[in-house]
Symmetry: C2
Subunit: 346 residues, 2 copies
DNA sequence: ACTATTAATGCAAGCGGTTGCAGCACTGTC
DNA sequence: GACAGTGCTGCAACCGCTTGCATTAATAGT
C-alpha cells in the first residue's frame, strides 16, 4: 500500500505535522529538516492524499466539467482548453457526460460537489431554478446559458444567427427554415429569437422545425420536414447541418444548388466535408479558458456575478449559394465577416 | 454549508453511527429509527460525503478514464459506453485528457490514484515499465495496448489491417503506403506489422510513412510524402485518412480515382464525408464496457490478468476503387466482410 | 545577565465518515 | 429462573491530513 504521512514521519524522525508542513507550508520548516523529509518522502514514494487533505481544508484542487454530450465535436476543444487552463492553476479536471439528460445533470453535480472546488456546467438542460439551487451547494459557472445572478460564459450566437440569416437573404433566399436544437437549450432559444427577427427585418419568411436532438441523426430527420420552396436552412449546430445535408442529398436535393445550409460551431470536420460547410464559428476554446478563470477567481471576490460574452463569426464556405431572389450587394462575399468589438463583460 | 452526519444524528436523536448504518448497512437498524433518520436526512438535504467515506473504506465509487485526446472522435463512444456501464454499477467516471503527452499521463494517473477505485488507461503513450509500476499503485486496465501481466482490452486491429490490405490488393493495387500513427502507440505497431505481412503475402509493395500525429493535420501532412506510383494508402485512423484525402485533393489527385484511401476506427463522420470513407470498424463502445467490467471485477479475483480481444470489421465505402493490377475475384465486394469467430479471451 | 522575540517543532483536535466491540433489553428454551 | 441468542444502539478508534496553540531553544535587545 502507498506510503502515508506517518511513514515519512517515522523514517525521517519528525512529527507528522512537520512532514505536513514540509509540503503545505515549507517556509515554516528548517531547511535541513525539510530536505531530509523530502528525501524520505521521495524514497518512500510518498504523495499527499489530496482527498484527505480536502476533507480538512475544503479545497480539492479539482474542478468538475459537465457536458451534455462528449461525442458532440463542439465540446472537446472547450474541454481541452479548460483542462490546460486548470492545470496552469494546479487543478485537475473531471469531465462527466450527461447524455443530454437533465436528471443525470443534477445527479452528477451532486456527486461531484464534494470532490471538486467548483463545477463548469456546459449547455445545461436543467431548469434555471434547479441550477440556482445547486449553485448554493457548490460554486458553479454556467457555459452557454445566461441565468440572472450566476457567473456565466456565453457565446454571442444571437449575432451569429443574425449574420447567417443576413448572409442567406443577401444571397437572395426568401423562404428559410431553422432546424432548432433540443428542448431546454438556451442557445437554441437565442438562435430562434435572433434568426426570426433577422428574417423579418429582411422581409423573408422563416419557419422553425423542431425541437430536434442536436446530432447528425437529428439533422437527417429534419431533412424530411424541409418543405418544397424552402431554399435555405440554418441549423442549430454543425452536426445537425451535416446530417441535414446528407438527408437532403438522399432526397435528391443538391447543396447548395437547391438548398443552402448553414451550421453553427465550426467544428473541425466542417472543413473536411463536401461541400465544406458555411457556419458560424464559436470561440469554444476561449470559453473553456474563461470559464475556468471565472471559477477559480470566484473564491476571491465572492458573488461577482460576471458575464463573459464571446464573439462569434460567420465563416462562408461552400454549402451556401445564390437563392431565387435578387442578390443584395451588401454582402461582399469575403471569407470571414468582420468581427465585432470583442469581449463584452459586465 | 451542507449538512453532515452529525447534524442528522442530532436532529433524529440517535448516535452518528446509527445514521451511518442507515445509509451503508440499513438492515442493521430498526425500521422505525431508519425511517426517522431518513426523514431528517431528507429534510436537511444530507448526502454522505463520498470522499470522507473513501478515506476509511478505501472505496471511492469513482473510476478514472485517461485518454490521449478527447477531440479524437474515436474516444467519445468509448467514454460514453464506459460512463453508462460505470453508472450501472453506481460508479462515476472522471475523464482526463493527456494531449498525447506521456508525462501528463503519469501525472494524471498519480493525481487520480487516490480519488478513484481504478483507472482505465486508453491508448497510453507511456513505456510499458512505467505502466507496470503505476499498476502497483492503483488498479489499472489498459485499453488498446497489450502488456504482459496487466488486464487489457484490445481491438484486433491486426486482423483489420490485414483485411484492409487484402481489400486493396484484391482491387489490383500493388504499390501501397501506410500512414503510421504516433510513436509509442501499440496499435500503430500492430497495424504496421500486420499490414506489412499482408502486403508481402499478396506480393505488393508497402512503404511506411511516419510516425505522424494521429490527427487531420497529421494526415494532411502525409499527403505530401505519398510518392507518385503509390495508388493506395492505409491510414492509422479515420482522422488521418480524412486529412490525407483532403491533402491529396489539394495536390490535384482524385480519391479513389488516383489513390484509394482506407481508414481505421469508423468514426461517425466517416459516413458524412465525400467520398464516404472505407474503413476498419472498431467496437469502441464494447471496449469501454468491457474495460469497466474488468476493472470492477478486478477486486474479486485479484490479478486475473485477462485479455479481451475485440473483433474488427472492414466497412467498404467509396474511398477505395480499382487499382492498376488485375482484380482478384477473391474479393466479392460485399459491404461488410464476414466477421470472424467473435470475442476471444484468455 | 535577564527578558522579549523569533524560529522550529510537537501536541492534539478535528474534517466526515465507518466499524469492531460492548452493552442492553427482549425472547425463547430447558 | 438461569442462560444463550438475537436485534438494536452507542462508544470510541481510526482513515490521512491540517492547523491553532504550546513548548523549546536560540537569538537579539538593553
Amino acid at each position: 500500500m502507498p506510503a502515508t504521512i506517518r511513514d515519512v514521519a517515522r523514517a525521517s524522525g519528525v512529527h507528522i505535522s512537520t512532514v505536513s508542513r514540509t509540503f503545505s507550508a515549507p517556509h515554516l520548516v528548517n531547511v535541513e529538516t525539510r530536505t531530509r523529509v523530502l528525501a524520505c518522502a521521495e524514497q518512500l514514494g510518498y504523495r499527499p492524499n489530496r482527498a484527505a487533505r480536502a476533507l480538512i481544508t475544503g479545497r480539492t484542487f479539482n474542478i468538475g466539467l459537465i457536458v451534455a454530450d462528449i461525442a458532440n465535436p463542439f465540446f472537446p476543444p472547450l474541454i481541452k482548453a479548460a483542462e490546460s487552463q486548470a492545470r496552469r492553476h494546479d487543478h485537475h479536471v473531471f469531465v462527466a457526460d450527461t447524455n443530454e439528460d437533465a436528471a443525470a445533470e443534477e445527479e452528477l453535480v451532486r456527486a461531484l460537489a464534494k470532490q471538486v472546488d467548483g463545477i463548469l456546467l456546459c449547455s445545461p438542460r436543467m431548469s434555471n431554478s434547479l441550477i440556482e439551487q445547486l449553485s448554493r451547494e457548490v460554486p458553479l459557472v454556467v457555459v452557454n446559458r445566461q441565468i440572472a445572478g450566476l457567473p456565466a460564459v456565453v457565446m454571442d450566437v444571437a449575432r451569429g444567427a443574425r449574420l447567417a440569416i443576413e448572409h442567406l437573404t443577401g444571397l437572395g433566399h426568401r423562404t428559410l427554415a431553422l432546424a432548432a436544437g433540443p428542448r431546454g437549450s438556451w442557445t437554441s432559444k437565442e438562435i430562434r429569437r435572433s434568426a426570426t427577427a433577422a428574417a423579418r427585418a429582411a422581409g423573408a419568411e422563416l419557419t422553425v422545425l423542431g425541437p430536434n436532438p442536436p446530432t447528425e441523426d437529428g439533422g437527417l430527420a429534419v431533412a424530411d420536414h424541409v418543405r418544397p420552396g424552402v431554399t435555405a436552412v440554418l441549423a442549430y449546430n454543425d452536426l445537425m447541418a451535416l446530417g441535414l445535408i446528407e438527408g437532403l442529398q438522399q432526397r435528391g436535393l443538391r447543396v447548395p444548388g437547391d438548398v443552402s445550409v448553414v451550421g453553427i460551431d465550426d467544428i473541425m470536420l466542417s472543413r473536411l466535408t463536401r461541400p465544406k460547410l458555411t457556419t458560424v464559428a464559436t470561440p469554444t476554446a476561449a470559453a473553456g479558458r474563461a470559464a475556468v478563470d471565472m471559477l477559480l477567481a470566484h473564491g476571491d471576490d465572492r458573488r461577482t456575478t460576471a458575464l463573459v460574452n464571446l464573439q462569434t463569426e460567420l465563416v462562408i464556405r461552400d454549402s451556401t449559394g445564390p437563392g431565387p431572389g435578387p442578390h443584395c450587394p451588401a454582402d461582399p462575399g469575403d471569407v470571414v465577416a468582420a468581427p465585432a468589438p470583442g469581449v463584452a463583460s459586465h
